[in-house]
């Protein structure tokens, strides 16, 4: 049986993984950076402002995330963000520093560096006043240690600095500096520079011998780059490109004209942030006073036989020829914005949808991952029934 998976984020990865595990011949079409690559490296089942849910990961999910280099602990991990908040998550990028495993009263050092998005003093003060840090008596301290090696690094984005640390001599240099610092702290909280490859952080941590890790940063973050590296290492066979059309008889056409036939298709193309779903109100395309034709404001980027929905209900044609009232679509007018909840509601037989939007848990990634696993399995089951009936 042949399964085509469209989308290279966490949901697509999970679907490809599940389908491959079920013995399918998987064609995996991967486009550009998606929400997962922009993700902070902290995965959850529920939005992080809430207390993390205690629901256990399925063994299949756990297997995949471990293979991708993520750390799943039994309790929540507590991660510092680069703006000074401590947030819980169920699953973390291995390069991030988990505050939960540090002893009560631990002294955490932040290096003072001149960088627009890293003011160690202000960050230490802000993190130190976070309720979690207060409860666990964690002490954040800015320390004088120069970890810029060359001039001009002040102006480099985090991602570029992370890439520099992939070089072994640079990461050894950093490790040596951290190790030589006296007095040695209980842990190091570092700017997000610990490599774009999953092994870099482990190498530095091994050399220093103390807990160390990054704070979550704004996108584009090295966490996203590490995800991509891990994914590519795990699934070397991919088709790079964008899908243009999925036909009723399950042929998948790419923009460059390649065509794949499939027994089942998984669409994991994301929501509105990165291109899976497009928002095009009638007013946006026409210069006239009134559009000549009125089309739905939201559409899937791929031409396929699917129905879009919002939180499980079909999307309705708005009561205005100009498109929906924007104030009804997004934050802060709505706590759970429509923009984040629009996705494929149902599709023709043989097409399955996956992603955080389909899981109705926007940007929690674990929800996306599990929906990917389900979609991959369902696609295989469909393909199996199809071959039986043949």
């Amino acid at each position: 049986m042949k399964i085509v998976v469209v989308g290279g984020g966490i949901a697509g990865t999970a679907a490809a993984h599940a389908a491959r595990g079920a013995g399918a011949d998987v064609v995996w079409i991967v486009g550009t950076s998606g929400a997962t690559v922009l993700a902070p490296g902290a995965f959850d089942l529920t939005p992080w402002q809430d207390r993390p849910s205690a629901e256990a990961l399925t063994s299949e999910a756990k297997g995949l995330v471990t293979a991708l280099g993520y750390v799943a602990s039994d309790g929540p991990a507590w991660i510092a963000t680069s703006v000074g908040v401590v947030r819980p998550c169920r699953l973390r990028d291995a390069a991030l520093l988990d505050l939960a495993v540090l002893p009560r009263g631990a002294r955490i050092a932040l290096p003072r560096v001149v960088h627009a998005e890293w003011d160690a003093d202000a960050l230490a003060r802000t993190l130190g006043s976070d309720p979690y840090a207060l409860e666990r008596e964690l002490r954040f301290e800015a320390v004088d240690i120069s970890i810029h090696r060359f001039g001009g690094e002040r102006d480099l984005p985090h991602l570029a600095l992370a890439a520099r640390h992939d070089a072994e001599d640079r990461s050894a240099w950093l490790a040596a500096r951290l190790q030589a610092h006296s007095p040695a702290p209980d842990a190091w909280l570092l700017p997000p520079w610990l490599g774009t490859r999953p092994e870099t952080a482990a190498r530095i941590r091994g050399a220093v011998g103390a807990p160390l890790g990054e704070a979550i940063s704004l996108p584009p973050s090295p966490s996203g780059a590490r995800f991509r590296q891990a994914r590519d290492a795990l699934f070397p066979r991919r088709v790079e490109g964008f899908v243009k059309r999925v036909t009723v008889d399950l042929r998948v056409e790419t923009e460059t004209g390649e065509t794949f036939t499939a027994d089942a298709v998984v669409l994991a193309t994301g929501g509105i942030a990165v291109g899976g779903v497009y928002y095009t109100p009638a007013e946006a395309t026409l210069a006239g006073e009134l559009p000549t034709t009125v089309t739905p404001a939201f559409a899937l980027g791929i031409d396929a036989d699917v129905t879009l929905g919002e939180s499980g209900r079909p999307l309705l044609q708005p009561g205005s020829a100009q498109g929906p009232q924007p104030e009804h679509l997004t934050w802060p007018h709505r706590r759970t914005p429509v923009l984040e909840r629009i996705g494929v509601l149902s599709a023709q037989a043989g097409i399955y949808a996956a992603g955080d939007v389909m899981a109705d848990a926007p940007r929690t990634w674990l929800g996306a991952l599990e929906s990917g696993l389900r979609a991959g399995a369902a696609a295989c089951a469909f393909a199996g029934r199809l071959s039986e009936s043949r």
Binding site: D119, A273, A287, R363
Partner: protein, 563 residues
């Protein structure tokens, strides 16, 4: 924060209520004449109409036929503003495209003649004379123009940052002894009864809305320069609101992520009003509406149908506007002189001073109406009236003495070389601060990390954020945005709001969590303003902005969002 109710009465000559361009203008004028002044502003400087205008000190060409004296005064005063703050202005040449057809051929003659008349006033503000253009000229100058055109006419105006104008006036007033209290709302105005010490003087009691403290000032004269809030303020002085009647007119603008056109372009809305697309600072802006407003003045927000009305009108001559990426909206309420009946556009843009002696409140004055372009002469008029009794020998000098930073020109390119800044960062810094940019960059010598860029869109340096908190009375992230344009660019503050909050907390000695709360509040307000202009590109940006907040800051609880 603990409630501070210890009264501290300061004695001044004049209390000014309102931190818009008229209030700060009067405070500066009086302070320069040697009078002692206390200014109270309920929100922030330039919070109302002054900071939410079209950003032009235009000559008021559209008032030429109805109120030629408004045009003359605007042009004259615009000329003075150029002299006292040359760094804060940028030229905005306008095109008036005229549609082809029999009507158009007549219309262009009329427009040509009209601007011939306007040309008489142009020298007052160093403006260029108008030019008549053929359809071919138009197509060459502005390739984005569409439709069948018979030709067009140019005219010349000046752009200004209205918020900076207010801040600089307030700053100069402070440097000449005035006290400025922002986020401080006047709660009562009482006259000391006869027989008491200081009889006949006014005691103004105000509450600091951030810290909760009470400010008391005693003054001979009270000036109500609170714009659309005017009737509310008058009532505090026991003057009937009907004596300070304004007809509040809401105007909205939509900002786009870059300069979309070479020139500003005039267009006509569906109901025949004049609207425009202007390149302004580093973006393009479309405006404006003029509608009677009945809502809350502290929370004025553009709505999506106002945005659609503007986009529709602009798209008739400049269709690309439909696919351009909107990055925000702003809205303000004009305190127009009150008349019942006429359409909003036909209302007089003149100003007047109400002497409340007739209302049993001598020495209380209300300033009503006015325009950004003529704030200085309106302020002079008001100050002359007050100085007649208090400082008869001192004359107005606000048209001769430069605003802070206007004393000498600075070369941004030179600055960028000596301070390792990008030329853009240096140029923007000099645009906002004039020669004071040197003082800001001077901070970097002592603390090199202040050279880092906090807001990459604008860009804004850490040193500038700290400077406006220390020297320009910025207390919140929103205040910093008004003074530096931090967070008002394409990314909507998602890369800089939290950092800015951190800096404010540090500078003001506030708990760090308060800095984060302020950042969330700012992002919340900005999102509310942006969403009215939500178009396809912006919907994605919005989704991404949410992702960033969810990753690092959190959206916070409802408590954070409420003011």
């Amino acid at each position: 924060m603990p409630f501070d109710d210890r009264p501290s009465t300061r004695s001044v000559d004049v209390v000014v209520i309102g931190g818009g361009v008229n209030g700060t203008g009067v405070a500066r004028d009086l302070a320069l004449r040697g009078l002692s002044v206390a200014l109270f502003e309920r929100n922030d400087l330039a919070f109302g109409a002054s900071g939410n205008s079209s950003g032009m000190i235009h000559g008021g060409a559209r008032y030429l036929t109805q109120n030629p004296n408004v045009t003359a005064e605007s042009c004259r005063d615009s000329g003075y503003i150029q002299q006292i703050a040359p760094f804060l202005l940028h030229r905005i040449p306008f095109l008036v495209p005229v549609k082809a057809g029999a009507k158009g051929r007549v219309l262009i003659e009329l427009i040509d003649a009209f601007f011939e008349l306007y040309d008489r006033y142009q020298p007052l503000k160093r403006g260029e004379r108008h030019t008549r253009l053929s359809a071919q000229d138009l197509a060459k100058l502005e390739p984005g123009l569409r439709g069948s055109l018979v030709g067009g006419v140019t005219f010349d105006e000046w752009g200004v940052d209205g918020s900076r104008l207010c801040v600089l006036n307030a700053l100069d007033a402070k440097e000449h002894g005035a006290k400025v209290f922002v986020h401080t709302s006047v709660e009562s105005i009482h006259k000391r009864p006869p027989g008491m010490a200081g009889a006949g003087r006014y005691v103004v009691v105000a509450r600091n809305l951030l810290g909760g403290g009470i400010e008391r000032a005693e003054a001979k004269v009270v000036v109500n320069a609170s714009g659309a809030w005017g009737p509310l303020t008058a009532a505090l002085g026991h003057v009937a609101s009907s004596r300070v009647r304004v007809r509040p007119g809401k105007g909205v603008h939509v900002a786009f992520d870059r300069r979309l056109s070479n020139y500003a372009i005039m267009a006509e809305s569906i109901d025949g009003r004049q609207i425009f697309l202007e390149p302004w600072q580093n973006m393009s802006v479309i405006g404006t509406t003029d509608d009677d407003y009945y809502g809350d003045l502290d929370d004025v927000c553009a709505t999506s149908d106002e945005v659609r009305y503007l986009v529709q009108g602009i798209a008739r001559v400049f269709p690309e506007i439909r696919t351009a990426r909107a990055i925000g909206t702003w809205a303000g309420v004009r305190p127009t002189l009150h008349t019942y009946g006429p359409l909003e556009d036909k209302l007089s843009r003149e100003h007047m001073i109400v002497d409340h002696a007739e209302d049993g409140a001598p020495d209380i004055y209300s300033m009503i109406g006015g325009k950004l372009a003529s704030y200085r002469s309106f302020s002079q008029e008001m100050s002359d009236r007050i100085a007649r009794d208090l400082a008869p020998s001192r004359h107005c000098t606000t048209h001769e003495r430069t605003l802070p930073g206007g004393d000498r020109p600075l070369d941004p390119l030179l600055l960028s070389e000596t301070h390792e800044l990008t030329p853009v960062a240096a140029r923007r810094l000099v645009f906002r601060h004039g020669s004071r940019a040197e003082a800001i960059l001077g901070r970097i010598a002592a603390r090199p990390r202040e050279c880092t860029v906090v807001c990459p869109c604008e860009p804004v340096l850490e040193a500038e954020v700290r400077h406006v908190v220390r020297e320009e009375d910025a207390f919140t992230v929103d205040d910093v945005a008004r003074r530096t344009r931090l967070g008002l660019g394409a990314c909507g503050g998602m890369r800089c709001a939290a950092r800015c909050g951190q800096i404010i907390a540090e500078e003001r000695g506030l708990p760090p969590q308060e800095g984060l709360r302020q950042a969330r509040r700012f992002l919340h307000t900005q999102a509310k303003r942006r969403v009215a202009a939500l178009n396809p590109d912006q919907a994605r940006q919005e989704s991404l902005a949410l992702q960033v907040m969810d990753a690092t800051l959190g959206r916070g609880s409802r408590d954070d969002e409420d003011r």
